[in-house]
């Protein structure tokens, strides 16, 4: 990155003072960010995350037989098509 000259001392002081004044301006207190609510909401989300992690292998396992059946059916169809073609060539 190109090395640029730093702002002058006056500028630095002016910006620094302005930023401090700006930061000191009050903002409306947050009503929604109650720490206790946040903590328990996070605990609940953590529990859901853990449940989702725990049940994921079961969900995957449930899909395996269906996928295996599909693959077997496709293989059988392929084999039958090939076999039928070979038999008809001999006739």
């Amino acid at each position: 990155m190109i090395d640029e000259p730093d702002p002058g001392r006056d500028d630095l002081a002016m910006v620094s003072v302005w930023m401090k004044e700006f930061a000191a301006q009050p903002i409306a207190p947050s009503a929604r960010l109650d720490p206790q609510c946040l903590f328990w909401k996070a605990q609940l989300l953590k529990r859901w995350d853990a449940e989702a992690r725990a049940t994921r292998p079961i969900e995957v396992a449930e899909q395996v037989p269906a996928a295996a059946a599909l693959v077997a059916a496709a293989a059988l169809a392929g084999w039958f098509y090939f076999f039928a073609g070979t038999v008809s060539a001999f006739r």
């Binding site: 730093d6 002081a13 930061a23 946040l38």
Partner: protein, 163 residues
């Protein structure tokens, strides 16, 4: 993290985090959502992923990233064109009232940099970590942002007041 430790961390960090998000975003409601999401991410993290004592840095990093995500999703940023030019009208009260609008004239990245450097007084390394930038580029980006803000302040007559 147990509830007590969280309460202590919350008491130390909530206000600066909320101010950072609200001032840099210029939208207090959106800032609340972002800060809440950052807290939830911290609490949902396995403890081993956030080193003890690094929670504050983690929270500032998550809030910074969430703000960037927000800006990417909503490109319709409050730009200089939409910011009312009330600051120039009267020097005393209006300039104070329009501090937020003046700050929004900077780019989101400049606002993050200036806030972290001048308000949070973070080191260049901390800023680089929070913003996902190279440590070496912080000095240049920061001085550019300061020059730009100084220019805006001078244009609003601020520099003449302080001299």
């Amino acid at each position: 993290m147990d509830e007590r430790a969280f309460q202590t961390l919350y008491n130390e960090t909530a206000a600066p985090l909320q101010r950072y998000a609200a001032r840099v975003l210029g939208d207090a409601a959106r800032a609340e959502d972002i800060v809440q999401e950052a807290w939830l991410r911290l609490l949902r993290q396995p403890p081993a992923l956030v080193a003890p004592g690094a929670e504050r840095a983690y929270l500032f990093r998550v809030v910074s990233n969430l703000m960037i995500d927000h800006w990417r999703r909503h490109r319709r940023e409050v730009t200089t064109a939409t910011v009312p030019e009330r600051a120039a009208a009267s020097r005393d009260g209006a300039l104070r009232l329009d501090m937020g609008n003046l700050f929004l004239k900077l780019t989101p990245r400049e606002r993050q940099l200036l806030w972290l450097a001048d308000v949070e007084e973070s080191t260049h390394r901390e800023i680089a970590t929070a913003l996902g930038l190279g440590e070496g580029s912080i000095r240049v980006l920061l001085s550019r942002a300061r020059r730009k803000l100084a220019g805006l302040l001078r244009a609003g007559g601020h520099g003449e007041e302080t001299r």
